[in-house]
């Protein structure tokens, strides 16, 4: 048996050759006018012939006789077609496709290929070639050393080989005919001319261990390396190939090492590199954390360099595993061609996005789902030509496959212009099969009904078809895609067509995630599943989470979001049934037991909800705390825990601890009967207590993939600065603007994430309020957008972050600009939080403020001081709240709609109940006259927006905490 490495190389090359044959055959069938398109015809026939010929030669050399015989018979037909030239007719094309399929099977079982019966296909090919009456076809290549002479056009490659050691002659004689040899370079080297059936790659492998230079002499030998170079260029940019032998100044031949444009690397080695890069990422994370904690500048510098290098190394290694989707997409035309023929349909296939690259593992995993969906579109989607004409459509159906890369993931849409999916038909079958009840159907939208076909065992097929499986495949497609961390959706309109949407991550190995705390432990939510994190404080916990039909829900934009408590999921190993769901709901919503839970669990006063998604479906996951984002390396669970469906895997965190990665789909399956929206009409209207507001925000990046935003009302101006103008002193960065020195605030440094330093032009965002000589550095400004944010839901607990929300399609972080500036200036903020133990009891504060960001900012300061905070959006609302509940302090803006802050305080001072209540005005009106107006109207203190220190001092004075 030939060398294993040689066989592996043959196997890899054969994939390319088989792909080329299939691609050319499909294209040849598509040639409508062979006369007008003669050049293309010749080119494609030549290409298919060359591929078959190369397979034949290599198979013969390596002793795979069946492959050699089939390719030989195939080559005969292609040779005859090339001579004419002529397109293959349907019968001929079918035969060649059958031969191609037979070869594919032989390669699948390469070692046993000679035991597979190929007589039938060879006899059919031979019988067909005899019709051409072109005399005796060329004989198959003999195996091993017994290489038979062929004409130069028959695939004998001629190479010049320069070697330092003559002993290579013996090896060359085994590989082919050595037709000439002699000394060159004053006898220091030996030159051979070899005729062989081996291509250059195989020859190089066969001569591994010898120091040789190889140059192709005839056109075929010279053409092969060129073809390889083209393939290599598609995958990775490479340097231009150098000439094999070049003349030096004296005109003397000098051997130079051939510059290989690409090398074949075993996938296992790439996997190992990827794994090591993953380990390096973990070490990098640990080092970053350590450097940040030590505060040592040198350690931070080293950490920063380590960070940059690790990121670049990781990106490069990831790229080695990336392959173009074309490797999968190029198989689709053949499938469509076969189905069209079998069903008598006319189908045109359009493919867009062949060049999109994806990780090899993902690429291999989507072959079956994609094939299944395409078959489904052709079989069930596109109608018969006569039906299409009757429906006023073109008789040829169109199936489009569109792939595109979006941020961090790829989407593939397979759409047809067929008859679409009838949701009522789906609903009726689902009802008949007992999959859903009448009542459940009543609550379902058409999209929900269509999604029923993704349930296991669901089938609408009236007869079993071998084209798109047995109608049981959609659940398999869904689970295969979800297993990869992706999502699968179906959109359909009756009479117009169906679109299957796949969303996939670019890579599986290293993912972005949100670190959360649950109990004493940390867990991770993959970012691909995360929509946003919302936070409820104090009474909101009770007020905004409601029980509807035995299920906890949250008012979320225009619908009610089903909620799952992570702590309850962890506590019960068995999937929840309706009784369990009701039991959990009672636990948190029965007045007695809920009070007990709140009493015993102080955290119930403040909780975070991660809004997670699987495709377009969302649900809320109640967690203890959302902490930060982190790039993690996914490691599988131990085999003994592989049956646990609520975790995807585990990882080592920056602090060295182990954390588990949540499987959002697994959690949904564990805790919910199905994910669905509950319309507002079905819910208790009482829970719709807060309105959403839009606000103009500036979105920007700060040297990382994270997107940030600031309310425009917080920004004084934006400067353009250049990296060359930045000076560093005592660990801080400065730029001179006018004659003023401005300190640079880098979000990465402040929030402890990787921030890539940008050379050249960048931006400095200056805060509007306060007297900070400091600005936030932005690497890119994305623009001004209207952000729809429910500020009741903003996340509070990450210090310096006001919250997160979805801006466009991206999760956006809203930093507290004042916190950031204070940190960058090195201000000591430790005194800005009260010692909670010194508060005899929690203070209740009412904040009246119409600007959502300020409302949130002030609330976050107060909540971090352990105060209970309610908010009102105008004076009228504030007055109503004051009359209903007891508060220890009123904090109010002056300029507000409906009732302004001055009118509010006058009403307060006129009320017997409220007249002694402490009240602070907080406003951007900052003239002496404004101040006087506020104090005259009845406020105890006047504060200009927004000096944090002054703010805290005033609060301390009010509550006598000094």
């Amino acid at each position: 048996m030939a060398d294993e490495e040689l066989i592996e190389s043959f196997r890899l090359e054969s994939e390319e050759h088989l792909e080329a044959i299939e691609k050319e055959l499909v294209a040849l069938e598509g040639i409508e006018d062979p006369v007008a398109q003669e050049e293309e015809l010749r080119e494609r026939l030549n290409s298919a012939f060359r591929a078959a010929h190369s397979l034949k030669g290599a198979a013969g050399f390596l002793g795979f006789n069946n492959i050699n015989s089939v390719t030989h018979a195939m080559e005969n037909i292609l040779g005859e077609l090339r001579e004419m030239p002529s397109c293959p007719g349907v019968e001929c094309a079918n035969l060649l496709f059958d031969a191609h399929d037979a070869l594919t099977k032989l390669f699948e079982e390469l070692e046993a290929s000679d035991r597979i019966d190929v007589d039938d296909i060879i006899s059919r090919l031979d019988k067909y070639v005899s019709r051409f009456g072109a005399g005796k076809p060329a004989a198959p290549v003999k195996t091993s050393a017994a290489v038979e002479e062929q004409s130069s056009s028959g695939g004998i490659f001629r190479f010049r080989i320069l070697a330092v050691d003559k002993s290579v002659l013996a090896e060359l004689q085994v590989l082919g005919n050595v037709v000439k040899f002699g000394d060159v370079d004053n006898g220091n080297k030996c030159e051979f001319v070899l005729e062989t059936v081996l291509e250059k790659d195989l020859l190089l492998l066969a001569l591994d261990g010898y120091e040789v230079c190889i140059e192709g002499l005839n056109s075929e030998a010279a053409a092969v390396p060129e073809k390889k170079a083209v393939i290599a260029r598609k995958q990775t940019p490479v340097k231009k190939a150098q000439p094999l032998v070049k003349k030096n100044g004296a005109g003397e031949n000098k051997i130079v090492k051939p510059m290989e444009s690409s090398v074949r690397v075993p996938v296992a080695l790439l996997g190992e590199l990827m794994s090591l890069a993953g380990e390096l990422v973990l070490v990098r994370n640990q080092h970053l954390r350590w450097a940040s904690e030590t505060g040592d500048h040198k350690a931070r510098d080293i950490s920063s360099r380590l960070d940059t290098i690790t990121t670049e190394l990781q990106t490069s290694i990831l790229r080695t595993r990336m392959q173009p989707l074309d490797k999968v997409l190029s198989r689709l035309p053949r499938i469509v061609r076969d189905i069209s023929q079998t069903l008598g349909k006319k189908i045109k296939l359009e493919i867009i996005g062949r060049e999109v690259e994806v990780d090899k593992t993902i690429l291999e995993s989507i072959v079956d789902p994609l094939t299944h969906l395409l078959r489904n579109s052709c079989d069930h989607g596109v109608e018969m030509p006569e039906d299409r004409i009757a429906a006023g459509k073109n008789e040829t159906g169109l199936v489009r496959v569109v792939a595109q890369q979006e941020s961090g993931h790829i989407s593939i849409a397979i759409s047809d212009d067929g008859n679409g999916i009838d949701p009522h038909k789906i609903a009726s079958i689902a009802l008949k099969k007992g999959i859903v009840s009448d009542k459940e159907l009543g609550n379902m939208s058409d999209q929900d009904k269509i999604a029923l076909i993704m349930l296991p065992g669901f089938s609408t097929a009236e007869s079993i078809s071998n084209i798109s499986g047995r109608g049981v495949g959609m659940d398999v497609v869904k689970s295969a895609i979800e297993k990869l961390g992706g999502s699968f959706e179906i959109k359909s309109e009756i009479g117009l067509g169906t679109t299957f949407m796949l969303n996939l991550p670019l890579t599986l190995a290293i993912i972005q995630s949100l670190v959360i705390a649950e109990g004493k432990n940390k867990y991770l939510i993959p970012r691909i599943n995360l929509e946003e994190v919302i936070n409820l404080v104090g009474e909101d916990v009770v007020a905004r989470i409601k029980a509807v039909n035995g299920q906890e829900v949250l008012n979320y934009h225009n619908s009610l979001l089903q909620l799952v408590r992570l702590s309850e999921v962890f506590a019960a190993a068995e999937p929840f049934d309706s009784r369990k769901r009701e039991e959990i709901t009672r636990k948190y919503h029965d007045s007695d037991s809920a009070a007990e839970v709140i009493e015993t669990d102080r955290e119930a006063q403040m909780l975070d909800i991660a809004v997670v998604r699987i495709g377009q479906k969302r649900f809320g996951l109640i967690i203890d705390r959302a902490l930060e984002t982190e790039e993690i390396v996914v490691k599988p669970l131990h085999s003994a825990q592989s049956g646990i469906k609520i975790f995807l895997g585990s990882t080592i965190m920056g602090d060295g601890s182990v954390a588990l990665i949540l499987d959002i789909d697994g959690i949904a399956k564990h805790a919910l009967s199905e994910i669905r929206y509950i319309e507002r009409d079905h819910a208790d209207e009482e829970c719709l207590i807060h309105s959403e507001s839009t606000q103009k925000v500036l979105s920007f990046s700060a040297g990382s993939r994270d997107k940030f935003a600031l309310a425009l009302s917080f920004i004084r101006r934006i400067y353009t600065i250049n990296s060359d103008d930045i000076n560093e002193l005592g660990g801080k960065e400065f730029v001179m603007i006018g004659n003023k020195s401005i300190t640079l605030a880098r979000l990465g440094k402040i929030f402890g994430y990787r921030e890539k330093k940008i050379d050249g032009e960048q931006y400095l965002i200056m805060p509007r309020y306060g007297s900070y000589s400091c600005g936030i550095v932005a690497s890119q400004i994305h623009g001004i957008q209207d952000a729809l944010i429910d500020f009741q839901d903003s996340m509070l607990k990450k210090e310096g972050i006001l919250g997160t929300s979805l801006l466009g399609k991206e999760l956006t972080i809203y930093p507290d600009i004042y916190y950031v500036c204070e940190k960058a200036l090195g201000a000591d903020t430790s005194g800005l939080t009260f010692d909670k133990h010194r508060l005899p009891e929690p203070k209740r504060v009412l904040v009246a403020e119409d600007t959502p960001f300020f409302r949130q900012l002030v609330k976050s300061y107060l909540v971090s001081d352990a105060m209970i905070v309610d908010t009102a959006v105008n004076g009228r609302e504030a007055l109503e709240m004051l009359s209903k509940s007891d508060y220890d302090l009123l904090l109010s803006d002056i300029e507000m709609p409906v009732m302004n802050g001055l009118e509010l305080i006058r009403e307060v001072r006129n009320s017997d109940k409220l007249k002694h209540m402490p009240a602070i005005s907080l406003t951007s009106l900052n003239t002496e006259e404004d101040k006087k107006k506020c104090l005259d109207a009845g406020y105890d203190t006047y504060l200009a927006k927004l000096n944090r220190e002054e703010f805290h001092d005033s609060i301390k004075k009010i509550f006598r905490l000094n």
Binding site: N521, V569, F570, A571, A573, L637, A640, I646, V658
Partner: protein
Amino acid sequence: MNSLEIINHNYYFFCCAGRKWGIDIAAIREVGELTDSLCPVPHAQHSVMGYLNVRGDIYQLISFKSLLSGKKEREGTNGLVLFLKDSVGQALGMYVDDACEILSVNSDSIENWDTKNITASDDKFDMSEYLTSKVYRNDSELIPLIDPSRIEEAINIVWKKNT
């Protein structure tokens, strides 16, 4: 037996569930204490205490006491973790009550323990018997020597029995 044929083996003896056990020292990577960075795994088998990072490798830590009893046992914090070598299976640590000694034991004091007929479905199935491959006989007692390669399977046996 000819004295020349006597071969000495090193065994690590530990205490757990009120008795002494032995394990071939060649199967142990290292012995350490339980740290607070243990990551519990919800829904895992009773005997699985959690995951631990040991110099970049994620170890599954099991409670030997729970494995023997087949139910969740209250663990103290003064025990020891025997981290087993990769050759035993996936990265695995075993939490035991206490260490006793390392002894060089000669082969004539070790007897094979026949466990061929023990099946998990047997009503009389006994985990300590299942895990024991040999016994060491000294002057005063018989000490079971466990076969570490059976631990992973033992976790699953307990799991299946409980579910």
